[in-house]
């Protein structure tokens, strides 16, 4: 980050909202749901202060619809929810992709069980959102600005995959104070072209106004697919540590990757040749970088707080070059927000070491029932 900055101690949700406002986001719509709620609260306080609008939508269906309209009208706009709320938004999120609208969506997930949802297209059709998965609040701030920039650069929706820990942890963050450069959007509807014969149509269907070039559904969908291939080639990002001489590589994303990083550092200090690999973008998945790192390793471990979703992409990247061993699992406390006993550096280290030694994994820790 260059130029003027401001340091502040902020809760993740508030930091993200500050970053979004700094990135020029002027419209947000959402419906409360833990752990997404604070994002909505901060937007509803902050956006009116900068001349923006935050809508308390009647449901997630309206939230995504409102954001769709705001982006189409030319605003930098965002929406968000948990995975459950995103399930309700999926029809629109697919069509927004086909309409080539640069929407940003904040998925504040209840853990890591929404990986497939986020990376497998969010609904129907051949569509994918770019998905960024910040490891901490500091990175979430950077990702939030990138999300709006990537969305504009490709006219394609971008999602941030956060969670309970990211939303609620307070960290000292550096916020850029340089105003964002919001590019011109000649495609946006501003109402000024009515009656001129050049009026605009924003449609997911590949149709254009009579007299203008209309690709039709097939050519339009092929063009979106080709654009997604270009995005996949250009935007994949990974964070790799200590993999050069590693016999074992541990793959993890999002806030749990922070625990993996700490566990690996601890094991390294104990003389074990273990490294870590963190996909920063979940889609596009940094498969080439992982294949490269895995080519020198004896085994690839996959730590995620789910029954096994990330592991699909890990296997596809490694393609049998090394055995892939899942070492995570479903882990949540009675709140259901994904913060179970598995999320503990010592527990993680124990599981990594067992797998590193090709020993059986200890049983998953029990997070207990209702308090």
């Amino acid at each position: 980050m260059s130029g003027a900055v401001r340091r502040a101690l902020l809760e993740g949700s508030e930091a993200i909202v500050e970053a979004a406002v700094g990135a020029g986001c002027r419209f947000f719509a959402g419906y409360p749901m833990t752990p997404f709620t604070e994002l909505l609260e901060h937007f509803s306080r902050r956006l009116p202060e900068v001349g923006g609008v935050c809508m308390n939508a009647e449901s997630e269906l309206e939230a995504v619809g409102m954001a769709w309209g705001a982006v189409a009208a030319g605003a930098r706009a965002a929406t968000g929810s948990t995975g459950q709320g995103l399930s309700l938004m999926e029809e629109a999120l697919s069509e927004i992709t086909l309409a080539e609208l640069p929407l940003v969506t904040f998925l504040m997930a209840r853990g890591q069980q929404d990986y497939h949802q986020a990376t497998r297209g969010l609904g129907h059709g051949d569509t994918r959102h770019v998905v960024l998965a910040p490891v901490d609040v500091h990175e979430a701030v950077a990702h939030t600005r990138s999300a709006f920039e990537i969305a504009d650069a490709w006219r394609h929706p971008v999602m941030i995959y956060g969670d309970y820990l990211l939303a609620h942890t307070r960290e000292s963050v550096t916020l850029p104070t340089e105003p964002a450069v919001v590019p011109d959007r000649p495609w946006a509807v501003d109402g000024t072209l009515g009656g001129t014969g050049r009026s605009r149509l924003i449609s997911p269907l590949g149709f254009a106004k009579a007299g203008q070039h209309s690709p039709g559904i097939e050519a339009h969908q092929r063009a979106i697919a080709a654009k997604q291939e270009r995005i996949a080639a250009a935007e994949a990002r990974a964070d790799v540590g200590a993999c050069d001489d590693a016999e074992t590589i541990v793959v993890a994303y999002g806030t749990p990757a922070r625990f993996v990083r700490a566990a690996v550092a601890e094991l390294r200090r104990g003389g074990h040749r273990i490294g870590w690999f963190r996909p920063v973008t979940l889609w596009p998945f940094p498969g080439d970088a992982l294949a490269d790192a895995a080519g020198r390793a004896r085994r690839v471990l996959c730590f995620e707080l789910s029954a096994g979703q990330l592991v699909d992409d890990v296997r596809l990247a490694v393609l049998g070059a090394a055995p892939v061993v899942p070492i995570g699992g479903i882990s949540t406390d009675s709140s259901g927000f994904g913060v179970g006993r598995l999320l503990d550096t010592e527990v993680v280290a124990t599981r990594i070491l067992a797998a590193h030694r090709d020993e059986p994994l200890p049983p998953l820790p029990d997070s207990g029932g209702l308090p």
Partner: protein
């Protein structure tokens, strides 16, 4: 009236494509009422001189083909979801005239929650409903506004309220919400009804531009294809079936809600007056 060609006494008085249509060609069936309604609101926009600040949001139905030929900036929405999209647009561009175009399947089935909340919020947009009581595009299936007795492909013996429930009178429902400033139900089954409906559009848009709240125009339109009636029977069928349940008139003006009985009485008076004037040999404009 039955048959496939216009009656011999029909006179063609000229072809007039509204200025805000890029072409007069359309994909609608013969006898469809939707193009008449589209003409009505496009002429109202033209008359108000606001074409260069208008943004439309279209739902999904037969009328969607007008998304390509309407010469105003337009966002194509999902089935049922136009009011929320229009809300986002209006909040970003408060000076624009923003309207949605939806059918009864779109608005009253799939998207009922959207339109009700948008009205209750007093969103300064205009929602236009083309109500023919049937899913025309899928080939004639029951919607939430299908009237009792109406035959559709999934109510072959006619809609039976004890089995299929009762129709939703959406205009009446919206009129009772505080955020709704102007609510009207027009029709396109007679030239007079078309003229009256065009005036309703104008008042609805004026309401929006004055900033006084949500405005709503429902237009009962012919769908001979989805009703399974001969093309020329469309207007009569509309009058006798849908029109008898979804009664034409202004349902809310200046904060006053008007009952169906009031509208029925007003329409009966107007029809009697028209008949009287017609019998006396002159009729400038059917009310």
């Amino acid at each position: 009236m039955t048959g496939t060609s216009p009656p011999a006494d029909v006179r063609r008085i000229g072809v007039a494509v509204p200025e805000l249509l890029l072409t007069g060609a359309h994909h609608m069936c013969p006898g469809c009422g939707e193009p008449l309604a589209v003409r009505g609101f496009l002429e109202a926009i033209q008359a108000l001189g606001v074409a260069r600040r208008t943004i439309a949001v279209a739902g999904i139905g037969c009328y969607t083909s007008f998304s390509m030929t309407t010469d105003v900036d337009l966002v194509q929405a999902l089935h049922g979801r136009a009011p929320s999209v229009a809300t986002g647009i209006k909040r970003v561009r408060p000076d624009a005239l923003v309207y949605t175009l939806q059918g009864d399947g779109d608005m009253v089935n799939e998207g009922l929650q959207e339109v009700l909340h948008t009205a209750a919020r007093g969103e300064r947009i205009t929602c236009i409903l083309l109500n023919n009581g049937v899913f025309g595009e899928t080939g004639g299936h029951m919607t939430a506004t299908t009237v009792p007795g109406q035959r559709t492909k999934n109510t072959l013996e006619g809609r039976d309220p004890t089995v299929h429930g009762h129709p939703i009178l959406i205009g009446d429902l919206i009129a009772r919400l505080d955020g709704a400033a102007y609510v009207a139900r027009g029709s396109v089954h007679t030239p007079g009804a078309v003229a009256r409906t065009t005036r309703m559009f104008r008042r609805a848009f004026e309401t929006q531009l004055s900033g006084s709240g949500f405005s709503f125009v429902e237009v009962v339109t012919m769908c001979p294809t989805g009703w399974f009636v001969p093309t020329l029977d469309g207007p009569t069928y509309l009058h006798d079936t849908l029109g008898a349940v979804h009664v034409m008139g202004e349902l809310k003006v200046d904060g006053r809600v008007r009952s169906t009985e009031e509208l029925r009485a007003e329409n009966a008076r107007a029809e009697a007056d028209a008949a009287r004037r017609l019998a006396a040999g002159g009729l400038d404009e059917v009310p």
